[in-house]
Amino acid sequence: MARSLVPAAIASEPWGLILPLFVLNTFGSVVLYSAAGGHMRPWALLHEIHFLVFLLMAFGISRLSQDFFKVMAFPIYGVIVALLVLVELVGAVKGGSQRWLDLKFMQLQPSELMKPAIVLALARFFDMMPPGMTRTWRVLVPLAGIVGLPALLVMMQPDLGTGLAITVGAAVVIFMAGLPMWWFLSAGAAVLVAAPIAFFTLLHGYQRDRVLVFLNPESDPLGKGYHITQSKIAIGSGGFWGKGFGNGSQSHLDYLPEAQTDFAFATMAEEWGLVGGIFVLAIFLWVFRWGMRVSRNAPDRFSSLLAAGMTFTIFFYMAINTMMVLGLAPVVGIPLPFISHGGSSLMTNMICVGSIMAVDKWSKRGGALGT
């Protein structure tokens, strides 16, 4: 054990993950630099600093032992659920929903932290569960509790996007854990049936509008469909090569809303075109492939579920954001990892990255111990 605490040589760090992420984040800074009209402030510089700070945090996480992860899994989960309850009680109301805890020195959004926390908790849950129970009905009861409680708390805020992210992240871990396939198929079918009912009964007015607008943004191009319409104009006008660095009129002239956060991909695509888009997608796919490979090579059930869940959490961010920006999903407030400006989501993503790096370390150190 003592040897494992010795800092690894720099060469042993997972550069295959860090370098692409650094390139992606720096490209994000370039986009933000342009969006600010050719200035490092207010976004580009901070974006890069955030990355470096959270990268250090990820290195820190990657050095934690698997035992520590296992021990902390449920306590962390419990604390964040408690914070979610606290938000419900005393949270700050912004933009019509109650998501933030004002800690004086920073605004804490517990629902963000829940995304990696749920993955961790479930990985630990399946790690503790005897394999034989995996395909029995009894497993569903604790699962429903672990996933349902935070998901409902977040959706009540109301924050549909994050609630969905938590649920999907959890579902992927459960799926990978080997629960019977037909359960997922029937659950999928149930969602298909329930979605229209939920749409008309459970959703808030503005959430319903978002969905309706997504289905037909041109119905109200200056009103509720404005975001999607302008985003598509930005991406569409970029063409193959883009308008060129610093020439994005949609973002510079404020037609594109949230050009530095939720719609940063559109800002990028306007200036860098399809080429820039493919570049970003390629790096993401590289990162996901890397994450999934770590998951497959992981020494044990806990670490492989952890790595797969963390990878999928990042993937879900990226997929929902780009699909929204491209008009394939409703407008939900989910930023694009490493491109969009915003500390809180970057922290979540770097926690995921740190966890994957940790799993990578365990597998290298443990060798063939697991299987």
């Binding site: 990978m176 037909w182 104009i233 193959f240």
Partner: protein
């Protein structure tokens, strides 16, 4: 997977994990491909569509309202010009907080409560992107004050532009019309973005409306890069506007203004026609509105002022006012009589009236023995009644029409009403009644059913003076119809000329109004038109029931150059109100300095020029009513109000006619003694001799 064994080991789970991770990996790649394809679809396949959308976002095409074509008088003096000015508009649709914006604008531009109320009205009425004018003609300080606060007031536009300017204001109101912002109805008719460009004005009345297409010009355009909030980042390209074409009128601007001002406090029309060409040199109706203040929309106070004025400022009396011509018909009648064989030297005895059957038509005096010339000079009704009875009214009506009465002329931009020269067929059509001998008598002296406009009277005068069938023209370059001599001999015309000469220069009814300009002599004819069945006459009684005062004239008498008609509503006798105006306007044509001296003295008594008087009146109204005056209707309502102004005049005519019709078969004249029945000499113009006061008398008229 359904058929898997119940026993689940770590190994089976590992196995399942392997397979499912491939599935998840596949999902990720699949989504990535989907995104790339979607991006290619939007960015490459549909690129043209979105590039256009992006460009139309980025670039804002602003139309620059074209400078409107000038309207010039015959000597190229501008009647309507354009002034460069600073202006502020507001597009209500884009205003975030109307009350706050209004309060701020009011404070920045020193708008009073009445102006703010008008602005609020206009904003309420505006539809879509229709702009509303807040202020124009601003000085730099006020303009700058608004400009620097524009970012806080979305929807407010401050810009430099041109606004229409009518140098002589009310004097040309009815002639030129006015311009104003295009209404929603205008926009529906002509879906032109220019119409909702701030600062653009459309012709609303008169020449401005009729020649809109010609005066408008082609707008310029400015391409600018704008932000989503409408802030201009930089100008990209600029195209100058092409000003509208110039419209040149036959009018003499100075004469037009002089006549308008000389009318003073009266409600009157003056028309001057060039006897050589038929050109209309002045076409004046006063009181009028000020087209300068109309062009930013009609305010509540202004509207109240115009509507409460019993002088009906909205009616263009020169072409739309219809009046019984009274004795001004007489020179025309002499031509008709001579054409039917009446010798000008034949004398008729006037015992103070004319008996038709058992009915007695009262003349205003006992004129004794009169010939044709004297009949004009002294305006003896008896002469014309007896002669008309002899030759028949049917002989007179065609000549009246020949000389222009009851006719409509080809004068674009003027909405003429052509009145009535009655005949038996007309009466049968209109009233289902037979023409009576009394109708002939009434019509022969320009009463009864006869109604004509001041314009027609001026044309008639010019034709009598020149002996040619002059066609009046208002557009300077208009193709003139060839004139031909009228079917009257020089001798016949001379009789009418002599009679009219003696009216002014002999012992006639308007001797007080002879010209005092060198050797130039004026010939004329007074007329007094009965307004309604009379309770009292002359200068007594309320203004509305007084007679109209008419005067026609031409000068110089030896070589007629200018013909004129003056109609003063409720001005009592022709010689009293109309003739002095005609004299001064005629004087202006030959000796402007002398005429202006007269005018300046008069304006001192009246309280200034028409513009000054209107402004004073506005201030008084504003002080009294503030913002509480009733709301102004839309364009349609304004048009309706103008029509209503017309018909109120028409109603007066009908009253006259009805009273005539009712009493047409009365057997005897009222025996009420007339206080002025005794004087043999016609009353001089300056003596306000009350004419016969005959209550409910069938007596058709008395024309001094």
């Amino acid at each position: 997977m359904f058929g898997e064994p119940r026993h689940v080991s770590t190994a089976t789970l590992r196995n399942s994990f392997e397979r499912r991770s491939v599935l998840i990996g596949g999902l990720q790649v699949g989504v990535g491909v989907l995104l790339a394809v979607r991006m290619g679809w939007i960015g490459v396949v549909q690129n043209a569509k979105y590039a256009t959308a992006s460009e139309s976002n980025r670039v804002n095409l602003t139309l620059i309202p074209p400078r409107r074509g000038l309207i010039l008088d015959r000597n190229n003096i501008p009647l309507a010009a354009n002034r460069a000015d600073y202006r502020v508009d507001v597009i209500p649709e884009r205003v975030a907080d109307t009350d706050k914006t209004l309060a701020e604008l009011g404070q920045l531009l020193n708008l009073g409560p009445d102006a703010l109320q008008d602005l609020q009205d206009k904003m309420d009425k505006a539809r879509g992107a229709q702009p509303v004018e807040v202020a124009s003609g601003l000085d730099w300080d006020h303009f700058a004050a608004v400009s620097v606060r524009l970012p806080d007031m979305p929807g407010v536009i401050a810009q430099r532009g041109f606004s229409r300017w009518y140098e002589t204001g009310p004097s040309v109101g009815h002639l030129i019309g006015y311009v104003g912002p295009a209404s929603a109805a205008d926009y529906e008719k002509e879906r032109n973005p220019l119409l909702i460009t701030p600062g653009f004005k459309i012709g609303k009345d008169g020449m401005e409306k009729h020649f809109e297409a010609m005066l408008r010009g082609t707008p310029g355009a400015r391409r600018a890069e704008v932000t989503a909030s409408g802030r201009i980042v930089r100008d990209l390209e600029m195209r100058e506007d092409v000003p509208g074409k110039t419209l040149k009128l036959t009018v003499n601007a100075q004469l037009q203004d002089y006549a308008a001002r000389r009318i003073g406090l009266e409600s009157a029309a003056v028309v001057v026609v060039d006897c050589l060409t038929g050109d209309i040199l002045a076409l004046v109706s006063m009181p009028s509105y000020d087209p300068n203040t109309f062009s930013d929309g009609i305010g509540r106070i202004e509207w109240k002022m115009l509507n409460e004025d019993d002088h009906i400022p909205l009616l263009n009396k020169a072409v739309r006012g219809l009046y019984p011509p009274g004795s001004t018909m007489k020179p025309m009648a002499t031509l008709a009589l001579q054409q039917h064989g009446v010798s000008p030297d034949e004398r008729v005895n006037c015992p103070g009236g004319y008996r038709l059957g058992n009915r007695f038509f009262r003349c205003d005096a006992v004129h004794g023995s009169v010939d044709m010339r004297t009949a004009i000079e002294r305006s003896c009704n008896t002469y014309f009644w007896s002669m008309a009875h002899r030759v028949g009214y049917d002989a007179i009506a065609p000549v009246a029409r020949l000389l222009g009465l009851g006719q409509e002329f080809d004068l674009p931009g003027t909405a003429q009403r052509y009145g009535t020269i009655p005949d038996p067929a007309w009466k049968m059509r209109r009233y289902k009644q037979q023409w009576s001998a009394a109708d002939s008598l009434n019509a022969s002296i320009g009463q009864g059913y006869v109604s004509v406009s001041p314009l027609q009277l001026a044309v008639m005068t010019s034709r009598i003076a020149s002996g040619k069938d002059l066609q009046p023209a208002i557009i300077f370059d208009q193709q003139r119809a060839a004139t031909s001599p009228l079917p009257f001999s020089a001798d016949q015309l001379a009789v009418a000329h002599d009679g009219m000469f003696r009216v002014v220069n002999g012992s006639g009814t308007a001797t007080a109004s002879r010209l005092q300009v060198g050797n130039i002599k004026m010939a004329g004819k007074t007329g007094t038109a009965q307004v309604r069945r009379l309770i009292s006459r002359g200068h007594v009684g309320d203004w509305k029931s007084r007679d109209h005062s008419l005067f026609i004239c031409y000068a110089p008498t030896d070589a007629p150059r200018y013909a004129m008609s003056v109609v003063v509503e409720h001005g009592t006798f022709g010689a009293r109100a109309a003739a002095p105006i005609a004299r001064d306007v005629m004087t202006f044509l030959f000796d402007p300095a002398k005429a202006l001296d007269t005018l300046h003295a008069l304006e001192k008594q009246w309280g200034g020029t028409p513009s000054e008087r209107m402004q004073a009146k506005y201030r008084a109204f504003a002080a009294q009513y503030g913002a509480s005056a009733p709301k102004v209707g839309n364009d349609a309502a304004v048009a309706e109000a103008i029509t209503a102004a017309d018909s109120s005049e028409a109603a007066v005519d009908t009253t006259t006619v009805t009273s005539e019709a009712e009493h047409g078969n009365d057997t005897a004249p009222s025996p009420s003694p007339s206080p002025s029945a005794t004087p043999v000499a016609p009353a001089p113009a300056t003596t306000p001799a009350p004419s016969p006061t005959i209550a409910a008398s069938p007596s058709p008229t008395v024309t001094p």
